[in-house]
Symmetry: C2
Subunit: 557 residues, 2 copies
């Protein structure tokens, strides 16, 4: 790796070198030569090239094969030394600010037991003697093999002197210690809010975990992040995503404050990542974007495309809304967030001004509700609407064909399948999994597939996603041969879902997703060729360089 960079730089003039290191380099005519380059074309067919010519506006000018004549006058020329070059990857479903905050807060996602988590929390608190709120997340009682939700007492045992709030790995539950519960004024008398649940003991006292809408009771008491913390979080998220080869991402649930942070970074000329924003509900959508999607801002780096709505919660916290009761919780069917009329009203409010609608639906009942709403609204809102169903995780097999109609996009996250596998079997039972994480079935039904990671719920690493997509095996190769292997994809199908699928899913296929003349020159240089590697090897892929708009945006150090 080091060698590549050095050899590349040895061919540069000092002036060109300086230009390459600018945070936002001026565009220049350039050539990335001698690469194992490929892209999918608009129809998903593989196209190979040896050289990539970039124009003065940061767009792809031409793909060259070995025999094509190279231009003589260029502002820069890089020898790729045969490395693999592919289009920048697009994460169709992530949470940009949350990724940054998580990276700056206490991260428990690598803890394998409650004891480990307590140890990490104790060290974190000891390093911060000022008794401000401790925030963090990443816990997963399943991974801890706890057999129960953790409790406030588990945290009090380590930190009592200040409030501690810890989000569950899926963002659908919060664990609070006693100081935080007291600060939020929650007692046995506090009722469960609509769409939420307070975990309680036999006397009704809150025991520490607040599920879905109940999280707000705690969150309302948490001090808001300072502007400098917000700015730092976005800068951190950008750095992380570029390092994983993500050149564009959907931000699924942008608040007014989030948008301000993104604009500040854009105004300062420091936005390198491309962000496709979906407002966190109708109010911020109308406040920010007003009468329709924003134009592309900052030379194609930011756009508000539409709105994120929620039909239900998540499987881990049993917030996913199911048609039949949970196999592991008698009588519970999860949380229906909105009645049918409300879903349609919200979707209609967005669609009437040309906004795209992305609706979170995990359980089969939530997916059926979203499908029915799309079917009804498609009569009124004709044309190219690209209704997005986010996660589309557990579908009733009988509903699968409906994903192929009305231009629906199934926005799915391959890694969830491996993280959720055992839990899904427990929650649903083994007989109700035929429409679970059903990528191939979605494609066969005619749905457009867009892949993402749901970071920070999962790592944003798209190569983990690609490896999972073609194998349905986890990082340890389990289960061997893949979980419900009929739903595996080919590597081309998986790559398409992480490139042109994501571009199409945000109305950006005219500029992103493929390397073709006139498209943004967003690409990555890799340490191996995913087309020539098995899933375990793909999972190890390292990004060497990430280029956006024809300029180097990230380099491995």
């Amino acid at each position: 790796m080091k060698r590549l960079i050095r050899s590349v730089f040895q061919r540069q003039t000092p002036a060109a070198l300086a230009a390459l290191f600018l945070a936002t380099p001026a565009h220049a005519d350039g050539l990335i030569d001698n690469v194992n380059g490929y892209t999918l074309d608009a129809k998903g067919r593989l196209e190979r090239f040896n050289g990539l010519l970039i124009d003065g506006k940061g767009k792809v000018a031409k793909l060259l094969d070995r025999r094509d004549k190279r231009p003589e006058k260029l502002d820069f020329r890089l020898d790729g030394q045969g490395r693999t070059l592919i289009p920048g990857l697009i994460d169709a479903h992530g949470h940009v600010m949350a990724l940054g905050y998580q990276a700056l807060q206490l991260d428990l996602s690598d803890t394998g037991s409650l004891a480990q988590a307590q140890e990490k929390l104790a060290a974190y608190a000891a390093a911060r003697p000022t008794p401000v709120w401790i925030q963090g997340g990443g816990w997963n009682q399943e991974k801890w093999s706890l057999g129960r939700f953790p409790t406030a007492a588990d945290i009090d045992a380590v930190v009592r002197d200040r409030p501690v709030v810890l989000a569950r790995i899926d963002g659908h539950a919060i664990l609070a210690n006693s100081a935080a519960i007291a600060a939020a004024g929650i007692t046995a008398k506090t009722p469960d809010p609509a769409g939420g649940r307070i975990e309680r003991d036999a006397k009704g006292n809150p025991t520490g975990v607040f599920v879905d809408a109940a999280q707000e009771l705690i969150r309302a008491a948490v001090p808001k992040p300072l502007p400098r913390e917000r700015d730092a979080a976005l800068a951190k998220a950008q750095e992380i995503l570029l390092g994983y080869g993500i050149t564009a991402t959907a931000d699924m649930g942008t608040s007014v404050d989030d948008w301000s942070v993104m604009r500040r970074m854009g105004d300062a000329g420091r936005l390198r990542l491309r962000i496709l924003a979906y407002a966190f509900g109708i109010d911020p959508l109308l406040s920010i974007a007003g009468t329709g999607p924003t134009p592309w801002l900052y030379d194609g780096h930011l756009r508000m495309v539409g709105v994120k709505l929620f039909a239900d919660g998540a499987l881990g916290s049993r917030g996913a809304w199911l048609k039949q009761p949970y196999a592991d919780a008698t009588g519970q069917k999860g949380l229906q967030f909105l009645d049918d009329a409300k879903v349609r009203n919200l979707m209609s409010r967005a669609a009437m001004d040309g906004f795209q609608v992305a609706i979170h639906a995990i359980g089969d009942a939530a997916n059926a509700q979203a499908l029915a709403a799309v079917e009804e609204l498609s009569d009124t809102y004709k044309g190219d609407r690209r209704w997005r169903i986010e996660h589309a995780q557990i579908a009733d097999p009988a509903d699968l064909p409906r994903f192929g109609r009305n231009g629906i996009i199934a926005s799915m996250q391959p890694v969830h399948q491996t993280s959720d596998r055992l839990m899904a079997e427990a929650r649903l039972g083994t007989d109700r999994l035929a429409g679970a994480y059903a990528w191939k079935s979605m494609l066969k039904a005619g749905a457009r597939l867009a892949f993402g990671s749901d970071y920070p719920v999962e790592s944003p690493d798209p190569f983990a996603g690609l490896a999972t997509a073609i194998s349905r095996e986890d990082a340890n190769g389990q289960p061997m041969g893949g979980w419900h292997p009929a739903e595996r994809l080919t590597i081309e199908e998986a790559l398409a879902a992480f490139t042109l699928g994501g571009a199409y899913a945000s109305f950006a296929e005219d500029r992103l997703g493929t390397l073709e003349p006139g498209h943004d020159a967003d690409f990555i240089l890799l340490d191996r060729d995913p087309l020539a590697a098995g899933p375990a090897e793909i999972r190890q892929t390292k990004i060497l360089e990430t280029w956006i708009g024809g300029a180097r945006a990230w380099v491995r150090k």
Copy 2:
């Protein structure tokens, strides 16, 4: 006027003509020739010129006198035919969105009696059969010679079938009809909120007028404007201001929603007016601008500079906070909005991140509080802070010298003096007016003066402001010789307060306020020369053309 435009256009090529009519024309090298041009320089000295050379970036390239050689190669050349050309005027205190809304809503500011207002309301309601809320404003019980506040019953007599809310001319009180009071759920049991007053009858029932903070009780029930209404309001406000020769304005109290509208217009390339935004309190300030003033956005058309705070209400509604009781309301001293510690905390929160502070202070007690806060904070926040006191309307003469210290800017609105004159005499008595609307005393004390109109409370017409500033007579020439004439300014002093004073007051004197090489080519062509006219004639001044950034932004039709 028509003649000037036509003669100018006859000299244009078709291509140049087309360029001139673009909403946001490309910059071009050009010459405005043969004008009676003048500007103040940075020190307030008059400088005359005959031609204005504009560079390709929309900046002033050079001021030419009659003998200077004209360049031969130019993109455009206009013959001013001897008309007067002066710098674009700056309104240092206005409310951009409110101006637009008012222009699109029911405007009662031209009614001279309650009966007239009722007639106008009836016609407005009849033209809108859909029973949505009727909103409007501009009433003034003083102008109606009503001798009391108007009541809900006065409005019910005309409109009963839907809520009606009407803002007082000064924005410090709302008149609501019974339907609006019911919709807001206000009864005899509703207590007066802190910093506000509900007008009541003997039994405590609300009678229709809600003063200062009590307005929020009604406003909370009013449906929020739709995005397209917001966009229309800003477009309308821009059109109005440009038509009055205002090329830049401070927006005193920008909400997050207001800011979004401004950005949408900027993103769409339709912002011609320059807006210097002061956030409506600390929360929107931090949400929007974060860690410091924004950069200049949209090629110098938008910037958030600082925050607007409120020390008290207004004189008309007896919300202005006085040192001694009102002469016409026994024992009442008005409304103190914030205690001393809170004022300083808010100012400090803004100043610590380099934001400018603009604090509304009308009564002499509020002004003294603001002065004391500045004096204390200046020890901590050194350097060029330009603390702004907005209105600085009624100063204790003993406090006047304090305005000359610590770099304070007195941001005043000349026309308020004529509108308020009789009311001020009633509220304060004739013995307490020595520090009222004391422009000349402020200058003598060493304060920096910045003039504005407080539109839509007053008309944004800056020529009414200039005429008032030099005469202290109203539009009818009353009182002859001027009210407290020692406070009159020279026309040069008044012009300075409407140009370089406003620029300085928003840290923009490096680009706005004077026509000098390198500054934005923002100027206006007039139908007369204010320097050669008396106040009555100045008041009749008509703008022929308004140019911003070297491009025509408005032309009289």
